[in-house]
């Protein structure tokens, strides 16, 4: 079937964004109807906190990635020793596995909490976001550098330079803003998904407790920490009972909603974000 370009069905990215939002709304309505009130509030708070934190990760990554990409470009041509030093520092940061880097950030957070610093939930969320952003922002840096390198070889870059247009303007406006928005958007979608994955994984890992004084109960509730709660784990384990008794499937959607909803939000969101990213790549021929 030949689909006309621009319609929702042919735009996989838009279609999957609608499916994602629609799916979450349906889940919210279902939980509102069948999940007990305290648990429903907790799921809502966890979702809000996760989305907030991941959005913040996304913004910080864009900021750090854009700034470092441009800084490296200018250092490479104007100050070679500083360029090499900065590249070395960034490579050291890059060599730390993302999950380990995030864990280190949580350990530092625990240290702060132990000394009474970062007590508000907002500041804790901001710290978590900053930590995740620090381990993922170099993906944006690489993209920015790749785009600059590609366009620097093209004639229009030289043509604009020879007309006296400032190099930073050509890079920021002409290359990154006008010609790389789709690439950056696609990268940010994948960073958003990475942030959800990292945060959930870390929250699950630290559910055992980070110190005698600090545990998950000190942190703002997120989808990962909610999933790590005993109630949720039992809800997930309940899936196993379907293997023994298929008729128990009904109970999953009415009695084990907290864990099932949390897991569903995480998995469904990651899947939709993957499809959105794939759709963007296809639509913009990235």
């Amino acid at each position: 079937m030949i689909l006309k370009r621009g319609t929702i069905v042919s735009r996989q990215d838009i279609l999957w964004t609608c499916i994602w939002v629609g799916g979450l709304i349906v889940l919210g309505i279902w939980d509102g109807l069948f999940l007990n009130s305290p648990a429903f509030v907790m799921v809502q708070t966890a979702f809000r906190n996760t989305v907030l934190a991941c959005t913040f990760v996304l913004l910080l990554s864009l900021l750090f990635g854009w700034a470092s990409g441009i800084a490296l470009h200018f250092l490479e041509t104007n100050n070679r020793p500083l360029y090499l030093l900065t590249t070395f520092a960034l490579n050291v940061l890059r060599s730390v596995p993302q999950i380990i880097g995030t864990l280190i950030g949580y350990v530092i957070l625990t240290f702060f909490l132990g000394r009474g610093i970062l007590n508000s939930q907002t500041s804790q969320l901001a710290w978590m976001s900053l930590v995740i952003a620090l381990v993922v922002f170099q993906e944006v840096t690489d993209l920015v550098r790749e785009r600059i390198a590609h366009y620097s070889k093209l004639e229009f870059f030289h043509a604009m330079l020879s007309c006296g247009i400032k190099e930073h303007r050509i890079i920021n406006r002409e290359i990154l803003w006008k010609n790389s928005r789709a690439h950056l958007l696609n990268k940010l979608v994948s960073i958003f998904a990475t942030a959800i994955f990292l945060q959930c994984s870390i929250d699950f890992i630290v559910s055992v407790g980070l110190s005698t004084d600090v545990s998950l109960s000190n942190f703002p509730v997120t989808l990962g920490s909610l999933l790590a709660k005993l109630d949720s784990k039992q809800d997930i384990l309940a899936i196993g009972t379907i293997l023994k008794d298929i008729t128990s499937i009904r109970s999953l959607f009415f009695e084990h909603l907290q864990g099932i909803s949390t897991a569903c939000i995480i998995v469904f969101s990651l899947f939709c974000l993957y499809k959105i990213s794939q759709g963007l790549a296809r639509h913009y021929r990235l």
Partner: protein
């Protein structure tokens, strides 16, 4: 004389690429079709020849669907007894077969031998025997991006077309439909080979007329026909595809309009003012990419001299294709790192050792600028027309009125708000080229380097560029011009301001 008119509409999705009513050409005549680059000449000719893919393009010819048009008996006959010479030969030669095999492929296997045509199309200064040997050696080559050269590939395509003409001439005599389309057949050829091709084509046409559609930007073909093929003047029709407010229209083009205009442009030898120092003086010898570049006064390579541009003067730089003219201009512009290079620009010494900041702060857009050869690549395709003028180092803020006034010197009635908001990728090649020129010429630089500034322009645009350059000359600005269009260069630049560039590999 049988004349066929076509209404052609070509679209992709919802975007109309071409919509022309009354596109006419006469049978058994040669129609030379001019028009600015990107206006749709190639697309229309491909559609009429039956080369467009109905799955990719939404095409109607005379308001009937493309499939129906393709199934018409005369269109099927055209595809059997005709030939299409493509604009870009590189992409239409297979790298898996030698040129010899491709010259004898398909229906060409039945055509007469190609040796006589090859000899003529390869003969330049050397003897005809040497030319035949050189061409014969080339036939065993598998085409690659850079070998044979663009000109050789183009000539190879012309050999195929001429072979096919020889083959179908008998059919043409019997009244069969034939159509030979030559899409920019001389774009990569110098004047000598262009003239050889014209002679070969017109000799066959004289023997028995057939239908030819020759698409070109090269208006100097008019002079060549007027000069060397006077007898056929009545059988050759010049037409121009133009964009108007009513859409695309095909108009007759009077060759004398061009020749008369050209005659009026002949410049007086420029008298150098006393005590005037050049705006730009580039030392005669420079080196780049391991090659030595030398500026001379004579084509032979003798009389080495610095390239000097005085206020209000245009100098032309000539060299064979691939010699490094563009590289040389980019070197002057400081866009490529030279191994050895010295110049004096407005009294300031600049060399290959000068700091990059000198170019950024004092030269680019202030003392000197450059118009790049390919407007398609020189402009950001994602920018809107009005955005092209943002960020330039000029005192005044670029207001829409100022922009309209400036662009009005190169454009005419296209300057609506909608046009100013159009993205560059949606413009035709000619519009891009004019925009490319307009951006460089709005700057108040002392020197402007012009690399093929007439590429893709129609006649009217060329005259506009000429008058704009004349005005800027009066403002004492200097120009370095590189253009393959020798006739136009001769009209613009006096002999004494012509320099030659020679490149050689040391040792």
């Amino acid at each position: 004389m049988k004349t066929t008119g076509y209404n052609v509409r070509i679209a992709v999705d919802d975007r109309v690429l071409v919509d022309v009513r009354g596109f006419q050409f006469s049978h058994n005549e040669i129609t030379v079709l001019f028009g600015e680059s990107g206006i749709g000449k190639s697309l229309i000719s491909r559609a009429l020849y039956g080369l467009l893919d109905p799955d990719e393009f939404d095409v109607t010819v005379n308001d009937e669907p493309y499939e129906a048009y393709l199934n018409r008996p005369e269109v099927r006959a055209i595809r059997e007894n005709s030939f299409f010479v493509f604009q870009e030969p590189s992409s239409h030669l297979t790298p898996l077969m030698t040129l010899r095999e491709q010259l004898r492929e398909g229906s060409l296997a039945k055509a007469p031998a190609e040796s006589a045509i090859l000899r003529e199309l390869w003969t330049q200064e050397e003897s005809r025997e040497d030319a035949a040997i050189a061409a014969d050696k080339l036939l065993d080559v598998f085409p690659k991006p850079h070998r044979p050269s663009g000109g050789e590939k183009q000539r190879m395509f012309l050999v195929m077309a001429l072979k096919k003409i020889d083959m179908v001439l008998a059919l043409a005599r019997a009244g069969k439909e034939c159509l030979f389309v030559f899409d920019e057949p001389t774009g990569s050829l110098d004047n000598h080979f262009r003239n050889v091709f014209l002679s070969l084509l017109l000799r066959r046409f004289k023997a028995h007329p057939f239908t030819v559609l020759l698409i070109t930007h090269d208006y100097s073909i008019i002079s060549e026909i007027a000069h060397a093929h006077k007898g056929l003047r009545d059988k050759i029709v010049f037409k121009e595809l133009k964009r108007t407010t009513q859409g695309l229209i095909l108009e007759g083009f009077d060759g004398e309009t061009y020749t008369g205009w050209l005659h009026r442009q002949q410049r007086e030898p420029s008298l150098r003012k006393n005590n005037t120092s050049p705006l730009l003086s580039v030392e005669s010898r420079s080196a780049m990419f391991g090659r030595e570049l030398t500026i001379t006064r004579d084509q032979t390579g003798e009389n080495e001299c610095p390239l000097e541009v005085y206020p209000g003067k245009i100098v032309s730089l000539k060299a064979p294709s691939g010699e490094g003219k563009t590289t040389f201009l980019k070197m002057i512009m400081g866009l490529l790192e030279a191994e050895q290079f010295r110049m004096v620009l407005c009294g300031h010494a600049v060399s290959h050792e000068s700091a990059g900041s000198l170019w950024r702060h004092d030269i680019w857009g202030k003392r000197m600028t450059m118009v790049f050869q390919h407007a398609d690549e020189a402009l950001n395709p994602a920018s809107r027309v009005k955005e092209i003028f943002e960020g330039l180092p000029i005192q005044e803020t670029v207001t829409p009125d100022m922009l309209r006034k400036h662009l009005g010197r190169l454009f005419d009635d296209e300057l609506s708000e909608e046009f100013l908001n159009t993205r560059v990728f949606a413009l035709s090649g000619g519009q891009k080229q004019r925009l490319n020129l307009a951006r460089a010429l709005v700057l108040r630089t002392d020197i402007v380097l012009l690399d093929e500034p007439f590429n893709g322009l129609d006649f009217e645009s060329i005259t506009r560029v000429f008058s704009m350059l004349s005005e800027l000359q009066k403002e004492e600005r200097g120009f370095v011009l590189v253009s393959h269009n020798e006739e136009i260069v001769r009209a613009l630049v006096p002999e004494e301001n012509t320099y030659f560039l020679r490149a050689r590999n040391p040792g």
